[in-house]
Every structure is written in C-alpha cells, then in structure tokens.
Amino acid sequence: MPSLIKNRIFGLTLTLNTLSWAGLILRDDYTKTQRIIMKVYGGLVFLYLFVFTAYVQIADLVVIWGNIDFMTETSLILFMQLAVSAKVLTLMLKSKKIMEVTNEADAILNSEKKVEGQRIIASIDKNTTLFLKYYGFFVAFTIICWFMGENTSTFFIRSKYPFNELKSPGREFAFVHQCIVVIFTGSFDFNVDIIIISLVAVCRCRLKLVALSLRNLCLDIPMNKRNLITSDEEKVITERLRNIISQHKRALDAAEAIKHYLSGALLVQLMVSIVVICTTAYQLAVKKSTTMQSLTMAGYLFGTSLEVFLFCYQGEFLRESSEEIADAAYECPWYTLTRPLKKTLLIIMTRAQRPATLTAGGFVTLDITEYMAIMKASYSFFTVLQQVSE
C-alpha cells in the first residue's frame, strides 16, 4: 500500500491524497502496472461522475426544452459541472508534470534552514489552510442545502436516465448516482481549487524566500568605515548572489510552468463563473422562490464569487511577491558593493520588473483589478437579463 503523499503545505497534503485515492492523480512510487490500473480507474471515475451525468442532464434538457425555469436550473448545474470537469481533466492529463513541480518545490521548502524563511513558509501554510477551511465550510454548506432543498426532480438533479428510474432497480441506481454526483462533484471542486491555490501559494513562497536571501545578502558582513567591501567579502557575496540568481530562475520557471498548465482550466472557470453569477443573481432577484431555493441560489452566487476571488487574490499575491524581489535587492546595502556586483543586482532588479502572473487562457491576467472587471461584467449582464424579462 503506497504511503501518503507528504507535502510541507497542509492544503496540498490533504488534497493531493484525496485526489490520488480517487485515481485522478498518480503517485510517483507506483509501478507500471499500478499506474495503468490507476489510470483506468481514474478514467472510469471521470466517466461516471462527469460524462454520464452530463449525458443524463443533456437528455433531460432535450425533453424539457421550452420550459425556461427548468432549463435554467439544469443548465446552471451543467455549467458548474463543466467548470469542475475542465479543472479535473487538466489535473489528470498534466498530473505527472504537476507532481514534478510540486515535488521540486517541496524539496526546496523543506531544505530551508533560516528562521525567517521558516516563518515565511509557516505563514503561507497558515494562509492556505485558512482558505481551505473557509472554502470547505462553504462547499459543505452548499451540498447540505442541495440535499435538503425541494427540487423539481425526482431526486436531486433533473436528469433523464436511459433506463426507467422510477422502478427499482433503476431507482436505486439513479439515487446512488445522484448522491455520489452531488457529494463528489462538490468535494472534487473543492480539492482541485485548493490544489490550484496551494500551487500558486508555493510559487509565491519560493519567490519570497529569494527576496529574503537578497535582503540578507550582506548579512554578516560588517560595515566598515570606507563603506566598501573587501575583496574577500566580495568573493563571498558573489557566491551568494550566484545561488540567489539560480534560485530566482528556478522559481520563475516553476511559476511559468504552473501558469501554463492551469491557464486553460482557469479560462473555462472564468467564463462559467460569469454565467453562473448573473444567472443566480437573476434567479434571486426576479423569480419568486422558497427560502430553501433562495438560500441555495445565494449559496451558488456567493460560492462562485468566492472561487473566482480566491484565484484572483492568489494571482495578485504572486505578482506582488515577484515584484518584491526588486525592492528586496534595493534593501540590502548595495552602495557598499563593488561595481560588478552592483551591475548584477541591477540586472536582477530589471528582471523583477516583469512579474510572474497567473493567467486565464493566456490573455486575462488574474488579479484584483480583473476580479472587479468580472464583477462589473456579471452585473451588467444581470441588468440586461432583468430588462429582458420585464
């Protein structure tokens, strides 16, 4: 029995292990046959949870075509599942590469010896765990609301099965399927989001550690009267600077890789979120519904906004950490260094002017300004929907 995947960041430990039990992520210590078995298992899980569900929902959509209310309800759930399946698919297909990046980062974080550096890692860990708790609580709340809410369908999600779901054994099968879909889609969404957030947080952490090393460049070099370092000290500092630069390059490469892998899934998520936000807002504002339904709609609205906000917030933090490197280079007593060292610092500062960012589809940079733009876009679509309905 393979052991747990261990990671310095708690969020990653929890979510990576959960997803590997579902067969969506492959552990490194699998043998070849185990790998094939897990891949098939993961593929089956994906088929059952996402493809089959999408099929029954689309079948139902075809049947109830014309009934706006039911159609909205089904398409809302369909869209949300689309976003989750895009993210899960990305994770499954790029699982090996993502695990590589994760393991490399984990090795670096574990080998950090400085007290200040360990404090930085601990604070980022706490930060991600906090996100995990809030978001997890929220997803659990939404799932419970779903179970307890009154639905127009026979079970929980409107669907048209290819068999008769009113008589057993079709009834049991459909019921089990629906329960599993509700619980597991929610929890997979949660897990994948936390993985994404934690990966970005880890990149941020590495860049912060680079900034810390830069700040402490002349740490135990005493300031002499001439305000100029000696040639022995120069050698020490040159060596340190070389290490810092290679650290910086590797951190930037990791951030670039993560951005590249996640870009497509984030684009799908963004599009879906805009649609979900304005649709749920419309449902809340215009349609008269029971308290339970309003609560569920409000839950979706808030949950989707929270999801997008988490991504944008992490993207903003990442950008900030990579720009911080220039400030950190400025903070060391560079005026005491020799000219070649100053030139090296200058090149580091120039590189740091172009920050590492998180993008969706390569053209949308995810930061707080983008979040405000998304909210504004959703609000304008919502007002248009309102006008149309009147």
Partner: protein, 472 residues
C-alpha cells in the same frame, strides 16, 4: 499642570492633530506625559462615553429610517444621512481595532539618519512639511465647523415636515416633524419644550463630534503623505550636490603632446585590464587632469591623483560614498514609511470608498428631484460637495505621493550624472531602476489612491445623474 511628554519624529509634528483626536473621543491613549492608572482610566471613560453617545444617536437615526421605510423619498433621504454618518462609526471602530498599527506608523520616523552636508536641506524641508500639515489641519477644522454651522442654520429655513405619500389619493402629504438638524427617533417628545432643546443640543454635539472623528483621521493620513512627499523633495534636492561631490572634471583639457608621449617612468604601456578598468597608470601628470573646475570650492581643485581615476582623494571618495549611503538609507526609510501608511490606512480607505460610492449614487438620484433654490437643493448640494470633498481630500495627497516618487528618477537623470564618478553613475542607474515604479497607497489592493480614482467617482456620479434625468 500637564507635563510635556517627550516625543520624537512624526509624533512631535502631528501633536496638535493627535490632541484633537483624543479630544474628539478616538481611542488614542498613548503620548500622554502622565500615564498613571487613574488618568488612563479617566481617558478611557471619556472615549467610551463619546463612543456610546455617538453610537446611540446613530441607532436612533437608524430606527427612524426603519420607521419610515415605506416612503420612498423619506427612505432615500434617511439612507443618505445614515450612510453619511457611517463614516464616523467605521473610522471610530477602525481606529479602536487598529491602534497598534497607527502607533507603529507614527513611530516609523523616530530614528532617522543624518549627514553633516545635508542637515540644512533636511531641516528646511522638514519645516515646509510642518507648515503644510498645520495649514491642512486648520483648513479641515475650519471646514468641519463651517459645515456644522451651515447645517444648523439651514434647519431654520423651510418647512420642517415629512413627506408622506397618502395611500388613497396617491399624493404627497406633509406631516409635521420637529425642527431639528437630523431626523431621528427619540423616546421622548421632541416637538417642543425641554425635549426639543435637549434633542437639539444632542444633535449639535453629534454633528460636530462625528464629523470631527472622520475628518481628523483623514487629516492624519494626509499629514503622513505630506511628510513623505517633503522627504522625497529633500532627496531630489540633494541629488545635485551629491553628484558634484563625486564629480570628475568637466573642463578637462588634456595636453595633447603628453597624451601620446610614452611615459618615461613606465617602459611598458599599461594596457587597461579587461576586467578592472584601472586607468591610474595611464594618466599620471597633473597636466593631464587639467587645473580648473567650475568654482565648486577649493577642495575639488586639488588633484593629487594618488589612488583614483576621477581625481578625488581617498577622503573625498569616502565623503561621496557616505553621502550616497545617506541618500539610499533615507530613501529606504521613506519607502518603509509609505508601506506602513498603506498597511495602516488601506482598509479604512476601502470602506470609505464603498460607503461613498453608495451615498453618491443615491445623491445623484436625489439631485434629479431638485426643482428650485430651496432648502432641499441646498442640502443635497451640500451633501454632494462634502462627500466629494472627502474623497478629493485623500485622492489629491495620494496623487502627489505618486508624482513625487516617480519624479525621483527624473531628478536623478537631470543632475550632472555624466560628470560623476563611476560609482555615482552606478548609483544613478540603480536609483532610476528602482524609482521607475511609483510609490502608491492602495485601498487593500482594490484601487490606487490617486486623482484617477476621484475622476472615475465623479464621472460615475455625473453619468448616473444624466441617465436618471433622461429617464424622468
């Protein structure tokens, strides 16, 4: 009787504002000379009493709003008033919860470095910042008092009524209301008599103190920004003498014959080392360096040329390097100050902008109902001007900070850097690189405080107003 408390740095500069904050009832308990338990308890009681009185009145206003929530006109007017005074409550609570970071920001400038060459410039710009801060404080205090006076004066004009829509006839009736500055619910009768006088005095107190609470905190924020800007001015001003300190010759006329003569002392021509551009051995005579310099003082004309390529003695080079150290450390100190200001006040600015946006939207709607020069017009325009003024107040200082910090790079370029030593040129290079990005104050990362923000707010208000006018 009150002994002088020993203060330094920003606290000394901002003492009048701090004293006013304490008088207005903020939970500011530091910076007293006498910190005995009894006095501290008295101060805490004082602040709590103010807080309780203000919150109680705010709740009374809220109850009034809830009472008349069915009348659209009354609801809008009451919502605007409630939001208007929400600033004070938010800032009171914000300061109470965040006082540690305020103290930290006030303590940032307690120890600052100094350099014998630049003390005069430092003192001059410090004085300028002090006078600007005082002027700002007087202006804002004056505006607050003026607002209270005009509000109270306006109460006595026009009819003191409430507009109630009659359900049957669908027209607006008037219901008599007490002639008070603010509409609020009181548990006693306030139409006339003792209750009226008490409510009136209570409301004047509430108006004055709540406006003072909100505005004084903004004054502290803007004073910090003024200080940071004047420090940046100081740094820009000393850039030029710093360059001249490390200046090489600018009127350098080489002796042509000497240039091409093989040096008799050194048989092999000293080829400059590829790594270390040490040109000491190449130019060896005083004539090569020339003898004159623009009258920068006797010091720089003495070219002993012992050890350095720019004709500076070792002592001069040390002086130049110490000046650079002063400049860089001072600049880093300013960066730390601005970062601390942003951390302390950013969230308060975010709340302020949120509340102001909603208030201004509602005010735009109210403004469409103005139908003449009457009390309604004056009060709506008064609210508008005041709210926009508050936003303008911190936007203009935030904008100045952005401008000052990005102009440091231009100042570095516009001094005589080409005359400076290689050391100075690298210094200019690093400063230019670092100061390309301006220092900004952001409202919890959601927006940057600048005149762009004010322009967008103003533009939004005007747009809503135009659209609503069209719809009528």
């Amino acid at each position: 009787m009150m002994t002088k408390v020993k203060t330094q740095g920003l606290v000394t500069d901002l003492m009048p504002c701090i004293r006013l904050l304490q008088a207005a009832g903020h939970f500011l308990f530091n910076y007293h000379a006498d910190t005995s338990g009894m006095n501290m308890l008295l101060r805490k009681i004082y602040s709590s009493a103010h807080a309780v009185l203000i919150v109680v009145h705010y709740i009374c206003m809220g109850i009034n709003m809830a009472q008349y929530k069915d009348e659209v006109n009354e609801l809008t007017a009451n919502t605007i008033t409630v939001l208007f005074f929400a600033h004070s409550i938010i800032k009171l609570a914000f300061f109470a919860f965040n006082s540690k970071s305020f103290y930290r920001t006030l303590a940032v400038w307690n120890q600052s470095n100094s350099h014998p060459l630049f003390t005069e410039s430092d003192a001059r710009y410090h004085q300028i910042s002090l006078s600007k801060m005082r002027r700002l404080l007087y202006f804002i205090c004056g505006m607050t008092v003026f607002s209270v006076i005009s509000w109270v004066t306006l109460t006595f004009f026009g009819e003191s009524v409430r507009m109630i829509a009659s359900k049957e006839t669908n027209e607006t009736l008037t219901e008599p209301a007490p002639r008070l500055p603010l509409k609020a619910w009181y548990p006693f009768k306030t139409m006339s008599g003792g209750g009226y006088v008490f409510a009136f005095i209570y409301q004047i107190y509430f108006l004055l103190f709540s406006m003072a609470l909100a505005n004084l905190l903004d004054v502290i924020f803007c004073s910090w920004l003024i200080f940071a800007c004047e420090q940046l001015q100081h740094l820009k001003a000393i850039m030029k003498p710093l360059m001249e300190l490390s200046a090489a010759l600018d009127t350098y006329r080489p002796n042509t014959a000497e240039l091409f003569r093989v040096s008799s002392t050194d048989k092999t021509e000293k080829v400059p080392d590829a790594v270390d551009m040490d040109i000491r051995g190449i130019y060896s005579t005083q004539q090569d360096f020339g003898m004159t310099l623009r009258g920068a003082g006797g010091k720089l004309q003495n070219f002993n040329a012992e050890n350095n390529p720019n004709g500076l003695t070792a002592k001069q080079e040390m002086l130049a390097r110490s000046a650079i150290k002063y400049w860089v450390e001072r600049h880093k100190h300013v960066v730390r100050l601005v970062a601390s200001i942003g951390d302390t006040y950013g969230t308060a600015l975010l709340f302020h902008m949120l509340v102001s946006t909603i208030t201004l939207t509602l005010l735009a709607y109210q403004a469409t109902k103005i139908n003449g020069i009457n009390v309604y017009a004056f009060s709506t325009i008064g609210y508008l001007v005041y709210t926009l003024g508050q936003v303008f107040h911190f936007c203009i200082f935030g904008n100045r900070l952005i401008e000052e910090s990005s102009s440091v790079m231009e100042a570095a370029y516009s001094c005589q850097w080409y005359d400076g030593s290689e050391e100075a040129k690298t210094f200019v290079q690093i400063v230019c690189q670092q100061c390309q990005k301006a220092m900004t104050i952001s409202g919890a990362k959601f927006f940057n405080v600048s005149l762009d923000l004010f322009a967008s707010v103003l533009g939004a208000v005007v747009t809503y107003f135009m659209v609503l006018i069209q719809l009528k």
